[in-house]
């Protein structure tokens, strides 16, 4: 592996992480408002966001806290909702520069949220630790800041601005998915399969009762397995 095949500039990561950070603000404002309205103190809401960095898990978490659930229930719920991260970390492990040391991996693991993972793992190059640190910054700050804003003053940002910011993450998804799908069509087919599966789970009565974490695993794994079976990749594209 040559050095210039490794993406390892902190600033580049910082830049790439900015839209994720903006998108996170709008999502975490909602979380902050919900947390405080369910009786969690402002500092508590921010503490949860700064230690967890995951949307669905945190939302489930506050409802369990309010229900005075047992610690075991809390642990199992988090496991089910967040098990998809194991898959993402496994995938990311193949994408990281293999010389990255264990302590650095411990820090990288903390920032491996859905969107950060998506951005890092769809880069052509191998990912270096410094790039990943840069990538984590804006999303982490945005997530904490949005939670604080939502917790302190839910109505601070006008509704129309919050609504528009909600699109930032999906714009980013498009920018990540579409260009490689254009150059390598099997990606587009896998994406289509995943979208169809996801619509089925969202709209078919009964199936739409499943938790969001499970649905993402089922659809993601289903589509990727089908893709691997139907369009196995050769060395050059991996």
């Amino acid at each position: 592996m040559q050095q210039d095949d490794v993406l390892n500039r902190f600033y580049k990561g910082l830049q790439d992480g900015l839209p994720i950070g903006l998108g996170y603000i709008s999502v975490s404002i909602t979380f902050g408002m919900l947390a405080v309205s369910s009786g969690i103190p402002i500092w508590g809401a921010v503490l949860i966001s700064m230690t967890n960095l995951t949307s669905a898990g945190q939302l489930a978490g506050i409802s369990l806290i309010c229900a005075h659930a047992s610690m075991l229930e809390m642990a199992l719920t988090q496991l089910v909702i967040n098990i998809r991260y194991a898959l993402m970390s496994l995938s990311l492990s193949q994408k990281l520069d293999k010389n990255i040391s264990i302590p650095k991996r411990l820090l990288i693991a903390f920032g491996n949220s859905d969107e950060i993972f998506a951005l890092a793992s769809t880069k052509k190059q191998t990912i270096g630790a410094r790039y990943f640190y840069g990538l984590m910054c804006c999303p982490y700050l945005g997530w904490a800041l949005g939670t604080l804003i939502g917790a302190v003053a839910g109505g601070l940002l006008p509704e129309n601005v919050r609504s528009a910011l909600g699109m930032a993450i999906y714009g980013m998804f498009a920018a990540v998915i579409v260009p490689p799908a254009k150059h390598f069509h099997p990606i587009g087919k896998v994406v289509l399969i995943a979208v169809v599966l996801s619509c089925i789970f969202a709209w078919v009565p009964g199936l739409n009762q499943l938790s969001m974490g499970f649905v993402i695993i089922l659809c993601g794994v289903g589509a990727a397995l089908l893709g691997a079976y139907l369009f196995p990749i050769k060395e050059a594209q991996g």
Binding site: K98, M167, G171, I177, V191, C219, A223, I233
Partner: protein
């Protein structure tokens, strides 16, 4: 609220979530050779992302129409391989403008 119990909840939440993310990243350093598994891992980010994006995007804004148009602008600009920030920014501005129009015609209210 019992502060001690609350802190334990946070420890359990954060601990479980972190372990799930950390173990594969630390334990697996070797490159996987199996072609099927390699293909699977190559497709996983796109598949997961697509499953997360759709149909969730339709309810991400104040109106389905602003979401559809925002997404359309995002996909179009991505197809033209514009920079990520530009794509995300234009998609947001589209949503803002569409919702401005919708609200001035009274279709949605803020």
């Amino acid at each position: 609220m019992d502060i001690g119990r609350f802190l334990w909840y946070v420890v359990v939440m954060a601990g479980v979530t972190y372990l799930i993310r950390m173990l594969p990243l630390v334990l697996i350093k070797k490159k996987i050779q199996n072609p099927f598994l390699k293909s699977f891992l190559f497709y996983i980010p796109y598949a997961v992302l697509a499953a997360m994006a759709f149909p969730a995007v339709l309810s991400s804004t104040s109106s389905v129409w602003s979401a559809i148009l925002g997404l359309a602008v995002g996909v179009l600009l991505s197809f033209k391989e514009k920079d990520l920030l530009i794509v995300a920014g234009c998609a947001c501005v589209t949503v803002f403008l569409v919702e401005y129009l919708l609200s001035s015609f009274g279709v949605i209210t803020f």
